[in-house]
Symmetry: C2
DNA sequence: GTCTATATCGCGATAGAC
DNA sequence: GTCTATCGCGATATAGAC
């Protein structure tokens, strides 16, 4: 057995989420978090690059998932079809069924400017992953960048609408509706 | 008369930009900046909310400009026409002729994650200003949000392309070309 | 203007897993 | 032995309170 209870990272995450919920993000200090987790301040920064990172542990996972989905799709699949299918998979595996949890997280992020900026970086990372995926598939640079940004935009707006409402539409339905609205707007 | 040469804010900004260029953003401390400007650390934070803000002094101005342009346009102007004209004005008054300066700024922002996040917030602020403008003009909420985001996306991608190349196209031309590409992509 | 809290990170030591 | 997680101490910068 280890001298220290294992999985310190997860204990730190749990403690941090509890404290953020109890007293807010800004009012919670790293020493408070580590005290609750039974660790030291220094240890916190070995696991997380900064205090905000606790709320964005899955940031990289989405980009990796996007990269994998795009790499695995047959070369013949057209860009917009790939986007449609990819967003459906993303919606079903990472969003559907988590509405309450995601709402709570959104409310917390809304309380702090630093968290909002970090959230924007997450969106940018997704756009970048899509751009890279299309470049790898042989799409030219400006088309790839445009597809990445539009895809990230449509997804984030759709998530907002989906979280705002209580109607039983799935996120994927909202995404398709957003694309339709966009087409109508530009056309 | 003041005991100190006036316009401390501008001296701070100059000193900061020099030091950022000489040694990088992260390696430059606020005490260093204020020492060069002949002021105290406290004075720096009276003028700027944080170290990054030095590079984003015009952040609010663009949002205000967007709000004004949208409020002044006749009610009969269609959304996409308003966007087209608004982006043209923005491109001509705030970007055209500043390519070298904007390139240097972009290179600096690229060196620091914190600066990139702040840059993303600037983009988000613009999208939000456009969204609010359309809401005021009576457009429904989801259309307004979509128009704001798409507009911000097209502008930022166009700026990137315009800064990347040395060709003599104006930013406004690149913006229109980006809209055309987007239409083709979705259609 | 001064003072202070807090975030962040570098370094060397230590404990246990393998 | 090596590798990794942790500790304890301390330094510095940012940022805000007073």
């Amino acid at each position: 057995m280890s001298r220290w209870p294992s999985d310190g990272r997860e204990r730190l995450r749990q403690a941090a989420l509890e404290l953020f919920a109890e007293q807010g993000f800004a009012a919670t200090t790293v020493p408070e978090i580590t005290a609750r987790a039974g660790l030291t301040t220094r240890t916190f920064f070995r696991h997380f690059p900064d205090k905000r990172a606790v709320l964005f542990v899955d940031e990289d996972e989405i980009s990796e998932m996007v990269a994998r989905l795009m790499a695995e799709a047959p070369a013949a699949v057209e860009p917009m079809a790939l986007i449609r299918d990819g967003l459906r998979v993303l919606a079903e595996t990472r969003f559907e069924g988590r509405r309450p949890e995601l709402r709570a997280r959104r409310a917390l992020v809304a309380t702090d400017a630093g968290l909002q900026e970090r959230d924007l970086r997450k969106r940018a990372a997704m756009a970048e992953a899509i751009r890279t995926g299309f470049l790898t598939r042989g799409i030219d640079a400006s088309r790839a960048a445009l597809l990445g940004e539009v895809c990230a935009t449509v997804l984030s707006l759709s998530i907002e609408e989906w979280l705002d409402s209580d109607d039983p539409r799935t996120l994927d339905h909202v995404v398709q509706a957003t694309f339709d609205t966009l087409r109508a707007e530009l056309g």
